[in-house]
Symmetry: C2
Subunit: 339 residues, 2 copies
C-alpha cells in the first residue's frame, strides 16, 4: 500500500536530487578532455572508471576510411547494392513528436532498402538544395551494419579499437556506419554501450550530459509510433506528405528523455537548469569516447561533397559493480519526483 511522506521528507528528497547534480559538476570539468594521441588501455580504463568522455583530435586521420571515403570511392565499392535507409519528414528518427492534442509520441523512421548510389546522390543533392522540403534520408541502422550491409567497406577501418578491447576485455558488439546530411538530428538519448565514435566526413556536433542528469531530462513513458508511406507506388520517390506516423501494434511504451538542452524552457524540470551540458564538435579524423549511459544529442554539418559520414564501435557496458544500478536508481527517483 502506498504511504505518504511527511513534509520535510519531500524537501530532503528535492535537496538530494539537486545535490547530486551540483556535486557532480563541482567534482568534474565542464569541458571535455582533449587528447592528441590514443590512450593506453590503462589510461582508457581510468576514463571508463570515471565514466568521463574524451576526444582524440586527429586520432583517426591515418585510417583508410578517413583518407579514402569520398563519393567516388564509396560508389566504386558499393555501387547499386541495396542498403537500409531511415526516412522521416523532418530528420526526426527516434524522436519525440508533439501531437496536435499536445500529447507526445515517440516516432521511428520508415525503413526501406534502396540502391546505395541513389541514396548518396539523394543525400548530397538535398544538402545543396533545401528550398523544397523533401523527406530526409539517413543510412544509420545501428545494427552492426559495417560488418554486414557495408562489409565491403569494413577493411578500411580497424576491426576493433585495441585500447578498448584490451581494457574492456571484449570485442565490439557492433560496428556501425552512418551516412546522412545536415537535416538529420539524433534526439537526446542514451545507450548501454561504451562508444568510440570516429568522424570520417563532415562534422558532428554533440551535446552530452552525464547519467546523473536523469532528473533534468524529464524522462517520460511515451507510446511508440512508426512512419509509414501512404503512397501506394512503392517505386515512387516519397514526398513529405506521404509520411504518416501510426501507433505501433502491439502497443510499445518507451521511456524517453523529453527535455532538449537546446530548448531549455520546453518540458524542463526544476532540475534542468542545474545541468551543464558539454558541447563538442568532431572534425574529420577525430575520435571521441562517449561513455556508457551519457545522454547525447547529435547534429551534423556536411563535408565538401554534401554528406556526413561516421563510424562507431559499441562495446557492451559493464553491468557489474554499482554503476548501472546507481544510474537506474537516480532515474527511478527522478521519475517518482517529476511525474
Amino acid at each position: 500500500m502506498a504511504q505518504s511522506l511527511p513534509d520535510d521528507q519531500a524537501s530532503k528528497l528535492d535537496s538530494a536530487i539537486r545535490d547530486l547534480i551540483i556535486n557532480y559538476h563541482e567534482l568534474n570539468a565542464t569541458v571535455i578532455d582533449e587528447l592528441y594521441e590514443e590512450p593506453s588501455a590503462l589510461e582508457f580504463m581510468q576514463y571508463v572508471a570515471r565514466n568521463r568522455p574524451f576526444v582524440v583530435r586527429k586520432g583517426a586521420e591515418d585510417w583508410t576510411a578517413v583518407q579514402k571515403w569520398d563519393s567516388h570511392y564509396l560508389l566504386s565499392v558499393l555501387g547499386d547494392s541495396l542498403v537500409n535507409v531511415a526516412i522521416t519528414p523532418f530528420g526526426n528518427a527516434d524522436a519525440v513528436l508533439k501531437e496536435d492534442d499536445g500529447s507526445l509520441s515517440y516516432v521511428k523512421p520508415l525503413e526501406r532498402l534502396e540502391p546505395f548510389d541513389k541514396v548518396i546522390r539523394y543525400i548530397s543533392e538535398q544538402e545543396s538544395n533545401q528550398e523544397k522540403a523533401t523527406p530526409i534520408k539517413y543510412a544509420q541502422t545501428q545494427n552492426d551494419n559495417l560488418r554486414n550491409e557495408y562489409s565491403s567497406l569494413f577493411e578500411d577501418v580497424p576491426s576493433d579499437i585495441p585500447f578498448a578491447r584490451i581494457a574492456l576485455r571484449k570485442n565490439p558488439e557492433a560496428v556501425n556506419f552512418w551516412l546522412g546530411n545536415s537535416l538529420s538530428t539524433t534526439s537526446l538519448h542514451k545507450d548501454n554501450y561504451e562508444n568510440i565514435y570516429v568522424q570520417v566526413r563532415g562534422q558532428k556536433h554533440f551535446v552530452i550530459m552525464p547519467p546523473v542528469a536523469a532528473a533534468a531530462v524529464n524522462e517520460q513513458s511515451i507510446s511508440g509510433t512508426t512512419y509509414t508511406s501512404t503512397n501506394g507506388d512503392e517505386e515512387a520517390e516519397l514526398k513529405v506528405e506521404d509520411l504518416k506516423h501510426t501507433l505501433d501494434e502491439p502497443e510499445l511504451i518507451v521511456p524517453v528523455p523529453t527535455w532538449d538542452p537546446d530548448f531549455p524552457d520546453v518540458r524542463s524540470t526544476p532540475y534542468s537548469e542545474l545541468v551543464k551540458p558539454l558541447r563538442v564538435t568532431l572534425n574529420e579524423g577525430d575520435m571521441m569516447y562517449l561513455p556508457a549511459q551519457w545522454y547525447h544529442k547529435v547534429e551534423q554539418s556536411c563535408g565538401d561533397e554534401g554528406y556526413c559520414c561516421a563510424v562507431n564501435y559499441w562495446y557492451d557496458m559493464e553491468f557489474g559493480g554499482s554503476f548501472w544500478a546507481s544510474n537506474a536508481f537516480a532515474r527511478d527517483i527522478a521519475r517518482a519526483v517529476n511525474n
Copy 2:
C-alpha cells in the same frame, strides 16, 4: 518551504531503494573474488572501476614483515619506544554505544602513549587470560603511523603497492600498522580510500557491504563522545571502571551506520534484509583490496603469540566521475526515508 509527496510517490521511492539493492546483488557475485597472484595495474583498474573487492591469497607471504614480525623481532626493533594506544573498556573504539536512556553515542577511545614492550605484552597476556575484564588496547592510530611512529618497521614492507600506484597514479596517502588482540572489534564504517590490506599475524574476519547498502545500514547523526580516565594516577594500570565516556566539546555530530549485520534485527531498516554481506577471512600473508566506500566491520583472531598484526595502504579515492556523487545521493535518499 517543505512540500509533501503524494501517496504513490512514497511507494515509488520505496521501490526505487529496494530495486537499487536487489539489482546490485543480481548483477554481482555474493562472494569475493580470490586471486592467487597480484593483479596487473590494468586488472586492478578493472576492479576499481567496478568498485569490487578481491583477496590475493598468500599475496604478501614473501614480505619481510610476514616472515619476521614475531614478538622477539618487534621487541628488538621497537623496544620501549613510545607508541600510541587506543584504550576502551570493551574493545569498542569508534563504535556506537547505547546509553542507559536508550539514546546512542558514538564513542572514541582514550589515546595514550605507552612503551611498545609494555603494550605488546599487555595485548598478548590479555589474549591468553580473559577471565578478568581489563581495558582493551589496540595500537591503531590510522594516521600513517607505519611511516612515523613505527618507521623503524617500514623497511619490512614495500613502500607502496606498485599495481595500485600505477593504476591510481598516486602514492599512498597513509600506510598504517595495526596491533591488537581478539577483544577489539572495528565497528561498521566506510572510508573514502581505496584500501590494500595485508594480514601479518593472526586472522582478520571482515564483513563487507557495497555502498548501495546505504539504506540498509541505518546511518544516523550521533553525538561524539570520548573515553577518559577517572583515575588520577596517570602511571597506574587502568581498570575497566576507570573509563568513562563524555560528550565531546565542542559538540561533534557524526554520521554513523547503526545497523550491525551480525545482529540483523537490531536497529534494522526495511531495507536491511535485502543486503547480502560478503564475509572473508584473511590469513597470514593474505592481501585484500577493499574498495572505497565499502562498509566494513572487522573482528580478529590472534596468531601463535597472542596478537594480531596487520598493515594497510590507503590511496585517496577518485572523487571525479559519478561514483562519489551517486553514493552521497543514495545516502541522502536513505536518510530522507529512514529518519
